[in-house]
Amino acid sequence: MGSILSTFGSLAIGGIVASATIVGVVSSQTSPSGESPANVNQPVIQYGSEG
């Protein structure tokens, strides 16, 4: 009985993690990641900004 439960339990966890991975990857691809075009009026393009 314990063996069956642990097998099904592990398969459920595996399924959840696999699904979460796929959903995470797909949803991150559909969210906007582009940068705004450079503003020609700004004096300089910055290398970056502190986190």
Binding site: S3, S6, T7, G9, S10, L11, I13, G14, V17, A18, A20, T21, G24, V25, S27, S28, Q29, S31, S33, G34, E35, S36, P37, A38, N39, V40, N41, Q42, P43, V44, I45, Q46, Y47, G48, S49, E50, G51
Partner: protein, 561 residues
């Protein structure tokens, strides 16, 4: 180990690398922040480190400039990125003493799929990633050196390959010392590390009179938070790049905390098993690397004033100012402990199916918790094609009179629409066949970090002169024969009198009359040439040693038969 068990980690590593790079492997060149590849980088004085600016891309530029004479730049870039990621994962796998499949798969994923790799890809530090890939192999070859007493030929290739930039070279040298120093090896180890770093050491010393590192950079480039993780915890999770723009959105959520907790949990569980199975000196080597990397990264966060003073007063001190870059040294231990931790967890699961599933889950979790690294960091790594004007500018400059090129506007970064509005270090200069004087001033969070090339200041003063004719005269006097203007970049580009060689929507190229070509001092040429001969000699010597050993083994086998 059966065949499929041997091949599965390799296939997994390749699959992860393909998933991570995604569109970056498509047609075109990937231009992102400091990663500026062009179809054909010219073999010109500054790639050897004898241009007027500090040799910041030595020896990586020279390697690319020479190799892209044989392999097109576009293909070479993809080979480097894909090869580095796969080599990194497979090296981490070899470092894990636990031979269970799950332990190896977890080590591969943790080493290949983490904030450090994603952030360094985004900011374009490809020589750092090559060094990152080489690091586990240097540690393994160092072990072989200790065991056999003979210098492994592979180290003569690996150490220069891991030293394609100054900071990567320092990390590789630390790993080599940690893994191989001791007894009669210390002298050769130090010599090998020095020889592999000689090009940037020598050419950097040639520019020492002009070199000045702005103290402002120490605070700006220090170890920072990684999304929600504060800097010290970010460092434990291999994150904390100074530039918040390259941190993935998933680091702002609970996944960052969960990932850190799982990583620390696995490391604690794996530490005991690792100490039991691993060679004592391997333990010391990995712990030393981790401690040095973490300590230096934390120093940049805790004491930026001290790092600024180092950068200002100690030659080469500026190398440590990018705090999270030094975490490259922490990654091997983190991956090994995570792998051993996974092995320890799975040994407590008696039944086969749950063990298999749990092993798969642990190997997949780094991807689950950093999903936006997939497919080229969610589309951030998108290759592009240079406008036709760039090739025309190259031809125009090729046919112009003597003198270097001045790139205008005098600013470092561009965000051209043809690069999907993504930031990149001005790519025009690298497209041209001559040395280019271009601004090396950096602006971060509205703070300006002063540049280091004295000719840029001279050019700025010339451009401030009253009329186009006077500007041209002053530029010619300082050895500028061509002015190339990027019309899409914000900033001023004062008119300079001269013959227009190219005039398009994107670029304007003007020939300045009367310039003399800048001559490289003979002493510089001799010193730099000697450094390069030593550097190139290392892999050649490695190949010769490997061939001789193979021949000796063949002769030995034949004699025994």
């Amino acid at each position: 180990m059966s065949d499929w068990r041997g091949w599965l980690p390799r296939a997994w590593s390749l699959a992860l690398a393909l998933l991570l790079l995604g569109p970056a492997l498509g047609p075109g060149l990937l231009l992102t922040y400091d990663m500026v590849w062009v179809p054909d980088l010219a073999v010109r004085p500054d790639v050897w480190g004898v241009g007027s600016g500090l040799p910041r891309a030595v020896p990586s530029d020279a390697v690319v400039a020479v190799l892209d004479e044989v392999v097109p730049g576009m293909l070479l870039q993809k080979m480097v990125l894909l090869g580095a990621l796969v080599a990194a994962g497979l090296g981490a796998r070899r470092l894990v003493p636990d031979r269970s499949l799950a332990a190896q798969l977890v080590a591969v994923t943790v080493y290949q799929w983490n904030p450090f790799v994603a952030e360094r890809l985004a900011i374009g530090h490809w020589p750092v990633l090559v060094g990152y890939a080489v690091l586990p192999w240097v540690l393994l070859a160092g072990r072989r050196w200790r065991e056999t007493g003979a210098l492994p030929a592979a180290l003569l290739v690996l150490v220069p390959l891991g030293s394609l930039s100054a900071s990567a070279g320092v990390a590789t040298a630390v790993a080599l010392l940690a893994a191989a120093a001791g007894r009669r090896r210390t002298g050769p180890v130090v010599l090998l590390a020095l020889a592999a770093n000689l090009p940037w050491l020598v050419t950097g010393a040639l520019h020492a009179a002009d070199a000045r590192t702005d103290a402002a950079g120490a605070e700006l480039f220090a170890l920072g938070p990684d999304g929600v993780l504060p800097p010290p915890l970010a460092a434990l999770a291999l994150g904390g790049v100074w530039n918040g723009e390259v941190v993935l959105p998933s680091r702002d959520g609970a996944a960052a905390w969960l990932g850190l907790a799982l990583l620390v949990g696995l490391a604690v569980l794996g530490a005991r098993a690792w100490r039991r199975r691993a060679d004592g000196r391997d333990v010391v080597a990995l712990v030393v690397c981790w401690a040095v990397g973490l300590a230096l990264a934390l120093l940049t966060w805790a004491a930026p004033g001290l790092v600024a003073a180092l950068a200002e007063h100690v030659p080469g001190g500026g190398l440590v100012r990018d705090g999270s870059r030094l975490l490259v040294l922490c990654a091997p231990l983190v991956a090994v402990l995570a792998g051993c931790g996974a092995g320890a967890v799975l040994r407590r699961v008696p039944e086969r199916t749950p063990r298999l599933v749990l092993g798969g889950v642990l190997a997949l979790l780094p991807v689950t918790l950093l999903p936006d690294a997939a497919l080229g960091l969610s589309g951030r790594l998108e290759p592009t094609t240079f406008p036709a004007s760039y090739a025309a500018a190259r031809d125009a400059v090729d046919g112009a009179g003597p003198g270097d090129v001045l790139a205008l506007p005098l600013s470092s970064y561009r965000q051209p629409s043809w690069n999907h509005d993504r930031k990149v270090l001005d790519p025009l200069g690298r497209h041209l066949p001559r040395d280019v004087v271009a601004s090396d001033e950096l602006v971060v969070s509205d703070v300006t970090v002063e540049g280091e090339d004295p000719r840029v200041e001279e050019a700025a003063a010339a451009l401030a002169a009253g009329a186009p004719g006077e500007r041209a005269e002053r530029l010619a006097a300082m050895g500028i024969g061509v002015v190339a203007v990027d019309r899409l970049a914000p900033g001023e580009a004062p008119a300079v009198a001269g013959r227009v060689l190219l005039d398009t929507d994107e670029l304007l190229v003007v020939e300045v009359a009367g310039a003399q070509a800048r001559t490289v001092p003979t002493s510089w040429t001799v010193a730099a040439a000697a450094a390069w001969v030593v550097w190139v000699g290392l892999p050649l010597a490695g190949a010769a040693v490997a061939l001789r050993r193979r021949r000796d083994r063949s002769l030995g086998n034949a004699a025994r038969a």
